[in-house]
């Protein structure tokens, strides 16, 4: 046995392409199933939500105007990076007492899910856009267009696959997001931030906060510069709170609350469509 002392990792957040600590200065203990503390994670609060939304908004225009091909390349690049760090993620999941076999499956499915959505970026407007035969002398077409800043409450279980299954369709469609990671298992989310950082994803496109979701959901879902919410939290009063807050700025809000993220149902282009605005353009036809 070596005398060497392991260098432990400090888990921070991922905001605007950087890894800041929480503005609050607080952390909370991440425990495994045996209630042993395995790491400390940032306990983000209101101000972190605020900063993350600002970061997301400033990234939106550039990300949404990237070519669909380019977004696809970048999503595929994320998959490549994740594949390369498979062992790290498996270990991190094991740290949380997830069985190795399940951990491997979760990481592999996560990679595959990214590849799945990478392939959709340049097909979504072909499959879900229309050319509309209006009765007047006009050319008329409808195309999906990104909704904007989307807040995501990611699932407690499936800390990596659930996270990726919610983020991938949102950013594949040109949106940017602020993600509240699994409260119980935040470590894979933070490490996934590192993968994103290494994958040509522009800073601010995905922002990941750790902490107690209840301390952040209210601020995120009421934020007037957030255009949509994807919620996986099944608690009834939280759901209602999100809905009510959403009405302040007419957010597009979807709840995905009873899920087995392993199911192929989660490879679903309609999840991309949830955060797409259909824009219809008219133009006369004449000489």
């Amino acid at each position: 046995m070596s005398d060497r002392i392991d260098v432990l990792k400090t888990y921070k957040t991922y905001v605007a392409g950087k890894f800041p600590r929480s503005e609050s200065g607080h952390t909370y203990a991440v425990k495994n199933k045996k209630d042993k503390t395995v790491a400390n994670a940032c306990r983000c609060t209101r101000k972190d939500v605020r900063d993350a939304v600002v970061a997301a908004r400033s990234a939106f225009s550039e990300w949404s105007s990237r070519s669909a091909y380019n977004r696809g390349q970048i999503l595929y690049r994320i998959a490549e990076m994740l594949e390369g760090r498979k062992d790290q993620f498996v270990e991190e999941l094991e740290l949380l007492d997830i069985k190795k076999k399940d951990a491997v499956k979760e990481v592999e499915l996560s990679v595959d899910r990214l590849v799945y959505y990478a392939g959709w970026t340049d097909k979504i407007s072909q499959v879900f856009g229309t050319v509309n035969p209006v009765a007047s002398q006009h050319f008329n077409f409808s195309m999906p267009d990104a909704t904007g800043v989307v807040g995501i409450t990611s699932p407690q279980e499936s800390p990596l696959l659930g996270l990726i299954s919610t983020i991938a369709p949102v950013i594949a469609g040109g949106n940017v997001c602020v993600v509240l990671s699994s409260e119980k298992y935040p470590l894979p989310a933070v490490s996934f931030g590192e993968v994103l950082h290494a994958s040509d994803v522009p800073g601010g496109v995905v922002n990941i906060l750790t902490g107690y979701q209840k301390e952040m959901i209210d601020h995120l879902s009421s934020h007037m510069d957030v255009n949509g919410i994807l919620n996986t939290n099944s608690e009834k009063n939280i759901r209602k709170q999100i809905d009510e807050n959403s009405s302040l700025s007419v957010k597009r809000t979807y709840h995905l609350t009873e899920n087995n993220w392993i199911e192929t149902e989660h490879e679903n282009p309609y999840y991309i469509l949830n955060f797409q605005e259909i824009k219809t353009t008219w133009h006369p036809i004449g000489v």
Binding site: V134, R239, S246, S247, L248, V250, Y270, E277, I278
Partner: protein, 511 residues
Amino acid sequence: MSDSKQSTEKVKDSSNGTTKPSSPNADLKLDFSSFWDYSSAPESRDKVDIQEKYGHFIGGEFIDPAKGRYMKSINPATEEVLTEFAEGTTEDVDKAVKAARKAFNGPWSKLSAKERGKYVFRIARMIQERSRDLAITETLDGGKPIRESRDVDVPIAAAHFFYYAGWADKLDYAFPGRKAEPVGVCGQIIPWNFPLLMLAWKIAPALATGNTVVLKPAETTPVTALKFAQICYDAGLPDGVVNIVTGAGQTGAAIVDHEDVDKIAFTGSTNVGKIIQKSLAGTDKKFTLELGGKGANIIFEDASIDQAIEGVINAIFFNQGHVCCAGSRLLVQEGISDQFVQKLKDRMETLIVGDPMDKNTDIGAINSKEQYERINEYLEIGANEGAQMYQNSSNLPENGYFCKPTIFTDVSQSNRIVQEEIFGPVLTIQTFRTPGEAIEKANNTPYGLSSGIWTDKGSKIFKVGQETRSGVVWSNTFNKFDPTSPFGGYKESGVGREGGLHGLYPYVNLV
């Protein structure tokens, strides 16, 4: 012939047969008023039957309201009572929802998609057959010019039923990889600006996809919905598939709050939309909202100017400006702004304001006293904010609620008249210098329903159209509607789309 000074002089001049045209005096005013005016050409209402009193249409029959209370519908052009209609209570709504549920669980769901579609086709035809009656009724009830109800509202309403009728048995082609199932009972609340047309936008896709509906028309314009109820009856539509409950805000709230409603579709103001969204919080009800707007109409200096002028006229003066997607903010590039405003004023002079039943009327009555007062309040706000107001020189009728077409120049983005939806024939005019500035101004609003882009340069249209955050982009045209064309807003202008293939989504569950 008119004995206006100018024209008689001309007649005299030419009477010797040798005069040649010569330059007029230096005053370059174009004279649109004094010579050869159009005689009044009122549409006859003789053949139109409007009952003195209407009940709700529930479960295939017209029934009295539970509490026996009625409201009045006023013709806003005359301020006379047009008819009385039932005030819907929670009990009435409950009765309607039960009827809709019964129909949904019973005959309507048992019908094959093909046969269901045939009912919708039948409704479309009946609207066409009764088109003149419906148009006249719409104009009497809501004050919009007969030219518009005859040429826009009613024909497009019929076209919506035609379009969606055909979808009924083709839904398998609409949603790749999924099967569409109806949502169930749909509660639908519609506004007063396009009463029959908004009804069509709501009911046609709902029926085609196999739902049943409870619809509440606006309290100032219920009559065409009740005539539509008669059409459903005459078309033999199974009882309870379409239920019309009349009333005001409370009736609408009763629909929204009813536990057995599966989906809410609302068109109206952003404020009410937010209230509805809030009251649906925590429920599994689906909803779509078509809310307010403050559309920017961007005129570049390389535009087809005279057609752009016409576009601006359609954008803001169509239906008295009671249009959620109205182009109420005009953005003109600085180099042409003086010329453009001059031309706009000339064109405004030819707008005829007055009796909505006159076939020559361009701008009819403001829909209600309440809205009339609201618009006037905004005119005052605009003046107080230091903007320059210009109105055309029409004489308004003595009775009824009328407003002259109005433009405000010298306005800035921070003015309330630029930020808030006025919902009347009131246009604000700002200038810009570069495309970037135009886009920035266009997007500087919580709304995102419509925008207009006028330029002869194709690539500029696509660039500006791409960057404009609105659900409809009218380039080199404005305020065009078609059943095949999806409509709906970004941001606070709403959620979901109506019209076209995308208009099917709100009415189906995908499995």
